[in-house]
Subunit: 231 residues, 4 copies
DNA sequence: TATGAATGAGTGTTCATTCAT
DNA sequence: GATGAATGAACACTCATTCAT
């Protein structure tokens, strides 16, 4: 009987409680995330996600009104986790840390959240279309909140950023991450073409270049503050 | 020469000579470029491009085997023009120029080639798919050639880059340009959402941030060389 | 009786008594009627009707097994009211009344029951499909009963119809009402097209034409009897 | 060789000439008409029509921009044929003919064009939605032209209609045809229900009732003119 | 060469109905 | 009795690409 109850509470046929509904949504996001590991967003079929999550297509639409809102919710989740990860890592440092150390920390965190990067790159192009204004606002509000929070942590860790420059620096981090990813992970055809030795100069190693650029960027942020101190 | 000019201005029904064929291709690219000013790539209809260029749909396919190859040819053209522009601007300077000055030069050049940026952002995701290996190779070879050429000009202008670091720096320029563009130009829904005052921290001014990041980056490139000199 | 009134005014969560159940059904029909004032039947969502009636979707299905049965019940109610109205109006006349007077009486009554007409027009096409045989029989039995009853009133009022021709005349009234309504109320696109002066000949004024046709029809019914009398 | 040419000209793979294109459209309309004999309009699948016509789905959309425009074109064709038939029949009479004779003529013509009637009944509800204003205008212009033309023929045949009342009478004919058809051809469930003897009064024989109503109507039209003469 | 008619795979979304709770 | 979460069949339409003419 206890068994039965457990079984029932684990996988109820109908999600009536808010927790159960959240669980359903989570499963759908899990399925989407897994599928995106081997399928680019435009090729991702809603039907497949639903099937993988073990529900009917219509059920997915009870939780996400459009395909894009599903994608946005996934980005929201992954970005939140990324921010969490960065914050934890930053707080684990004894400030002040050097730009290079901070860059390395950020790159490592990015590496732990590889799945987010390709999605981030299409946010604003493919995902943010076909989403209700309210949903877009909620998403952006969350992004804002977390960016500010993480920005403060960044300021603390570096110890040399002007107030609120942490958030700004994070926007640049995002830009660099997506921009470099695009160059590091081209379409399969291009990837195989670039394997030829003569194309060495066009091959981009994501971690190496990101570390380099972030170090330069953070150094720049700190330098841009220094003058005002000396003056 | 007179003949050639006449031929070009007459635009015969059938393009027999290489010049006439190149003219046809040019017209198609012109039409595509004009259409892309108000239509995002996925919404761009091949039929519309052909119609705008004054030819039948099938004719377009005589010059570009796929929609993507058309896009790639356009990127090729625009990127070439951009590289030309940068090279001219760099050569017009009396070296060495400061990273800040160089960044400003690059941003201005980018601004003169606004049309390229959104296309660049989807290269590798949408454009480089569905292209024959040979076409991809040719495109990448051209990119390589121009990148190296422009990289050398960059090295000369800055006067403080390690050999072949100019090309590498240009890859970063590309990454920053596309990465920041994505954040500066979101979908219409998002754009209107971000207009609210509370979202000020998420609004990105393309030119400002690009200038800042490029300055930092170039400074970093120069700094990364210095140590090896002093040691 | 006091109890019943209380119960009805309280609208308990669960309808146990027959009165309470009838009240529930009535509310659902009210909601459907209100919605149909601005939404055509195919666009009418069952969920919306339930929501408007303040019950859950599933509850509606406790009272009406299909969407169509809901529509049919509504037609039943409205047609009953229409018949009532006609009978009252006919009984208020001092027979015999002229065909023209009778036609006018019928048109006025139709005008007081405008909501029924578009529904009547789709009965038999959209409504009578997907209904259980038993429900269809019950509905038709009711229609028969009221038609015969109203037919007798019509015979009395006109004073010159052969027995049982009243019911037959009413069938023609229905046909004319729905047939003319279809022409008088086309889709919005067509309506705006027909506003052009050149289309005057295709514009149909419902009341005018219905009056004319009914007068002719009733005259015809009376005339068709006379010969048999004189012969 | 003559054979080959014949074969080729009969069923060319591509319809390039206007004639060939008209032929293609005709085939599609034929297929739709055939399908509508056993499938009601809402259930009619575009894919099926295309398949029956021996072309791909996309080809159908080269000729008809929406499903509704296909339906409207079919109505246009059938209504034109009906009008032709009526005109021929009217012109074959020696005027003046009696209302009863004229009614019989019209009923016979209707009977020869049975396929049109159910379509006519949904024109304005299902068909005239989702059609471009220009298409709706063209359709209505054609209807107007033919109605006026046929109206004149009707006036000639009856010899006793006020000018332009012929067209008006035809609108009533349409109304009666569709209104009575609705009652004579209910959904299968209802039809079987009505077979029970007790429901005899609700059974409508299309031809009988239409003849009766049209006779009355035309008599009414003529009568409505007479008074003005005597006065 | 040029044309443009033909192709047909591909998919997000709705909504009447059911049924576990 | 009431609920509302789950279902899943059903479908018009687009558009890059091909190929008969």
């Amino acid at each position: 009987m206890t068994m039965g109850q457990l079984t029932r509470s684990r996988t109820p046929r109908r999600a009536r409680s808010p927790e159960a509904k959240a669980e359903r949504a989570r499963r759908l996001l899990d399925a989407a995330l897994a599928a995106l590991a081997h399928t680019p967003w435009p090729e991702l079929a809603v039907a497949q996600v639903a099937r993988d999550a073990g529900v009917a297509k219509g059920t997915l639409y009870l939780y996400f009104p459009t395909k894009e809102s599903l994608g946005l919710a996934l980005v929201d989740r992954l970005m939140g986790a990324w921010f969490d990860d960065i914050i934890v890592a930053l707080n684990a440092c004894r400030p002040p840390i050097s730009p290079a150390a901070c860059a390395q920390l950020l790159v490592r965190s990015t590496d732990r959240h590889r799945a987010l990067v390709p999605l981030l790159a299409i946010t604003g192009t493919l995902l943010e279309a076909n989403v209700a204004p309210a949903a877009a606002r909620a998403y952006k509000a969350e992004v804002l909140r977390r960016t500010l929070e993480c920005g403060v942590a960044l300021e603390s860790a570096l110890g040399a950023l002007a107030p609120s420059e942490g958030a700004r620096a994070l926007l640049h981090v995002h830009a660099l991450v997506t921009g470099l990813h695009r160059m590091a992970e081209p379409a399969p055809v291009v990837k195989s073409v670039l394997r030829a030795p003569r194309f060495a100069a066009l091959r981009v190693d994501f971690a190496t270049e990101l570390t380099f650029a972030l170090t330069a960027l953070l150094t720049g942020f700190i330098a841009s503050r220094k003058p005002s101190r000396t003056s």
